[in-house]
């Protein structure tokens, strides 16, 4: 009977869709719907609707495919008790903010729960610990089958079996443990990869870069098919002091600056940016900075890289400061980057752009130290966070001008309930666990904030989250 009804309904639906009476073709229900044409259509509609709603369920296609299980990560997920706090912090910001929290949590030896946050497959800036999830998303979406767990060690034999994000994380780990083995592996495997992947993999050599990497880099700088890979290899070579010779562009860039002396008793050399008269000049200088390596620029000015770092007149031209820092981040040797970072921290610049540009090349310890200097100067917690990153490892976040300013602002007569949320969030991401607890006490007792004030969520999460001693 059901078969007959089902067969008849095809015609019934077609007729109704087009606006024709369907009762004449519903012989199977002839007795039930009666003779009256109007009533018959309504009865047929009621019967058809109930039959379709109850007895007809779509058949699954034969190609149904279940995604593989989401892999467990190397670090545990946050304790359940802290997940509501983490969810509230996650909800308070954009993608970068969410990655910051993921990084903070990873630094403490935890991961976010996948129901609360998962990185996108393309989210290269997500902490390495999330690589298996990124690969899972990519593999599941593309139907490329189950994802394997991270291998003990990356080798040429298992290279193809590991998905990109996990492979990148494994390569990073190998480079940290055995730089030579990572280089050899790259030497063998790079030619078989696409340009974007080559670029990403080559970036791993920045970690622990040494003279031993020079032959590979020289080969890539000379022979790779992709201009971006060539440029990255050249930048890495420049970091080793093997920059290109002074060319026309470096000389042209040097022409935008003037060398002179300063001081009355102790005369010392300095360099300042010439005043730019047109936007075209500014654009040209910016292009030259982006295409020249640091050592070549210093040589074009007739000095060593160290000397340039020592005499650069910070604060004279904010844009030039940022462009020099970006150039150094890309192509200056480690020692010079460290000199520049120290000089920047000592200068207490109102504009933190140069420090931010340089930050990827500064180690976490020095970044934390610089962040402390920023806080002891006139910098805010947000400034310090921009430098240190959300590692939750900066000591001495209280008894600094930033704290006094914050307490003053929060306790002011015109304070509003939502004020200074970004500053409190930054404090929460910077502080150590003990520092977060102290800061909470001060804010509750000193500024009269409620313990449950949502602006304190990040600090509360920080103070409650056990530090499992893992660096993110």
């Amino acid at each position: 009977m059901a078969e007959a009804i089902y067969d008849a309904l095809g015609q019934v639906l077609t007729r109704w869709t087009m606006g024709s009476a369907a009762a004449p073709v519903a012989q199977v229900w002839k007795a039930e719907i009666g003779e009256d044409p109007v009533e018959a259509e309504l009865r047929l509609l009621a019967l058809s609707g109930q039959f379709l709603g109850m007895a007809v369920i779509a058949e699954p296609p034969a190609d149904l495919r279940a995604w593989p299980d989401l892999p467990a990560l190397a670090l545990p997920t946050l304790p359940d008790a802290l997940r509501p706090l983490a969810r509230r912090v996650l909800a308070a910001g954009d993608g970068r903010h969410k990655r910051n929290l993921a990084q903070f949590v990873a630094g403490r030896g935890w991961t976010l729960h996948p129901a609360d946050w998962m990185p996108a497959a393309s989210e290269d800036e997500a902490p390495d610990v999330y690589a298996p999830w990124r690969d899972w998303i990519e593999a599941a979406a593309s139907g490329s089958g189950p994802t394997g767990g991270a291998p003990e060690s990356l080798t040429t034999a298992n290279w193809e079996n590991i998905l990109p994000a996990a492979r990148n994380a494994a390569l990073s780990d190998l480079r940290r443990r055995d730089p030579g083995a990572a280089r050899s592996l790259l030497e063998t495997m790079l030619p078989g990869e696409g340009a974007d992947i080559r670029l990403r993999l080559l970036g791993q050599l920045a970690q622990g870069l040494s003279e031993a990497d020079a032959p590979l880099l020289e080969s890539l700088a000379a022979n790779d098919r992709a201009p971006k890979v060539k440029a990255l290899a050249a930048s890495l070579l420049a970091r080793l002091g093997r920059g290109s010779a002074v060319g026309e562009e470096a000389a042209e860039l040097a022409g935008f600056f003037t060398l002179g002396t300063k001081g009355l008793l102790r005369r010392s050399r300095t360099i300042w940016a010439n005043v730019l008269k047109t936007p075209a000049q500014r654009m040209r200088r910016q292009t030259l900075f982006a295409g020249t390596d640091y050592s070549s620029f210093a040589a074009a000015l007739g000095m060593s890289g160290e000397e340039l770092a020592a005499i650069w007149g910070w604060g004279g031209d904010a844009q030039a400061d940022i462009e020099l820092a970006a150039m150094a981040e890309r192509s200056a040797p480690d020692a010079i980057v460290a000199d520049l970072a120290t000089a920047l921290a000592e200068n207490n610049l109102p504009n933190l752009g140069p420090l931010r540009a340089l930050a990827p090349r500064i180690g976490p310890t020095q970044r934390a130290a610089i962040a402390q200097r920023v806080l002891h100067g006139k910098g805010s917690y947000q400034d310090a966070l921009a430098v240190a990153g959300p590692g939750g490892r900066v000591q001495g976040v209280i008894d600094v001008p930033a704290e006094a300013a914050l307490l003053r602002a929060l306790g002011g007569a015109d304070a509003r309930p939502g004020d200074h949320a970004p500053e409190l969030l930054a404090l929460g991401m910077l502080a150590t666990r003990a520092g977060a607890q102290k800061a909470l006490d001060r804010l509750v007792r000193g500024a009269g904030l409620l313990q449950a004030d949502p602006r304190l969520d990040m600090l509360r999460l920080n103070a409650a989250l056990e530090d499992r001693g893992v660096q993110g």
Binding site: L13, G19, L42, M54, I57, A66, D69, L70, P84, D116
Partner: protein
């Protein structure tokens, strides 16, 4: 008169004068007087520093109202739909505090209070500012409000008059509804005659017109349902819409016929006209009351075309017996702004739920509750026959739109077109999923899942997994 005072680092309660000043009018105070009684409240508490107080007050809705106040500036919030600010529930909470009618034990601040604090950002709730200013200069008197609370003596003649008048109103209403249903059937016939393809293309405008006619005909519930019909249709893949239109319109015919046959049937009347009041439900001998452990599955908030916002909370009964699901449904005007959630998905509480009388008890009122996060028992076993569970409610009420289900072990699978399916672990059943199944739920076994079946799509509300309990959004 005492002011709000901070002493030794703690905030202390306010005095009655402040409450009088805060009230919008004497009527609010009078209403608050009726609520400022311990029996009306549960979950009363305060922050350790004494600055915040909160509590839950039984109201006319399905959910108790969550009421909270910040004693520093008398900022306040209540989940009731009242347009008065502050509402009677807030005034009553402050009253309870000022007069120490009940104890406000200090404790951990609930998430819903924290959420409210978060949303106060930039709201202008400045200490000593707008929130603390008297709402009206008209004279108000708490004591007078209290004295006016005395019940009026029963008057048998007046009661008889009220009863006769109510019966007459009921008759008039039924007549109007039946006229409305005639118009509805004629309209349905027109849609068939003009073609369902054209109906689907113009569903919003056409449904709006007949819905307005039904509102005039006092069939408000049916009108609301028809107003939402286009959204349900358009939520289907284009190829499924003619079929979905037949199912939707067919259910309307069945409902109209059912009302004609039994206009006083509670289930049918609720689906066509309006729901019984809280008082009627509580007084009815047919009301099923269930005391037990409940888990909040999800809270769905939807702005409807008729200007109302529906707030639906799905509860799972964790006890072995009794109705498996309870649906708490409240409506409030969209113009009243966003309401604070009454629940947090996943929270468990021990409470008493009163089900509206019916063939498949589902819609319910929450009478009282007490948090019980300590009971970590697993979800109950699903019904042994899933196919039967999908259709059984439709035998009793063929016009029902959504059927809540507890699904056995299974997981999400995807077809070549990207359509998600829930598939049982033994592969004997696969049901197509509604859109929006992303993230973790695609990559884990669902040891149990609670879902809504709408006849051709399954919407997962929450699930138990090796990763713990997860909601539909991941």
């Amino acid at each position: 008169m005492l002011e709000v005072v901070r002493a030794l680092g703690d905030w202390v309660a306010i005095d009655l004068g402040r409450i009088e000043a805060l009230a919008t009018d004497q009527a609010s105070l009078k209403a608050a007087a009726g609520l400022a009684k311990p029996g009306k409240w549960s979950g009363v508490g305060g922050s350790v520093d004494g600055a915040l107080i909160w509590g839950e007050c039984a109201g006319s809705g399905a959910n108790p109202y969550r009421v909270m106040a910040d004693l520093r500036d008398l900022g306040n919030k209540c989940t009731c739909p009242s347009r008065k600010f502050p509402c009677k529930h807030v005034l009553a909470l402050l009253w309870l505090n000022a007069e120490a009618v009940v104890a406000f034990p200090p404790g951990e601040i609930p998430g819903w209070v924290s959420d409210w604090l978060g949303r106060r950002r930039g709201a202008g709730a400045v200490p000593g500012g707008a929130a603390a200013r008297p709402a009206s200069d008209a004279p108000k008197d708490l004591r007078a409000a209290q004295s006016a609370e005395a019940d009026a003596p029963d008057d048998p003649k007046a009661a008889a008059r009220r009863e006769a008048s109510a019966a007459k109103r009921l008759e008039e209403t039924e007549r109007a509804i039946l006229d409305g249903l005639d118009a509805l059937e004629q309209w349905i016939g027109d849609q068939l005659r003009l073609g369902l393809a054209a109906f689907i293309d113009d569903a919003t405008a056409r449904c709006r017109r007949i819905a307005a006619r039904l509102v005039d005909g006092k069939a408000a519930a049916l009108a609301g349902r028809i107003d939402e019909l286009p959204a349900r249709l358009l939520g289907q893949p284009a190829g499924d819409r003619p079929r979905a239109a037949v199912v939707e319109l067919g259910k309307l015919v069945l409902l109209a016929r059912a009302f004609r046959a039994a206009p006083r049937d509670a289930d049918i009347r609720r689906a066509v006209a309006s729901s019984e009041t809280r008082e009627t439900i509580l007084a009815s001998g047919d009301t099923v009351r269930v005391i037990g452990l409940w888990e909040v599955l999800v809270e769905q908030v939807q702005t409807r075309r008729d200007g109302l916002v529906s707030q639906t909370t799905w509860l799972l009964n964790l006890e072995p017996e009794g109705p498996r699901f309870a649906m708490l449904l409240d409506y409030y005007p969209a113009s009243a702004g966003r309401r604070t959630s009454a629940f947090t998905p996943g929270e468990r509480f021990r409470g008493e739920v009163a089900f509206f009388p019916g063939r498949n008890p589902l819609r319910a009122l929450l009478l009282q509750r007490a948090a019980d996060g300590a009971d970590t028992r697993d979800w109950p076993e699903p019904a042994p026959d899933l196919a039967e569970a999908l259709t059984a409610p439709l035998h009793a009420e063929p016009w029902v739109l959504d059927i809540p289900l507890l699904l056995p072990r299974g997981r999400v699978a995807i077809d070549a077109a990207g359509q998600g399916w829930w598939r049982s672990a033994d592969a004997t059943m696969a049901l197509p999923l509604a859109e929006g199944v992303e993230g973790l739920i695609r990559g884990t076994e669902l040891t149990r899942a609670a879902a809504l079946w709408s006849g051709n799509r399954l919407a997962i509300l929450a699930a138990r997994t090796p990763w713990g309990r997860i909601g539909a959004d991941g």
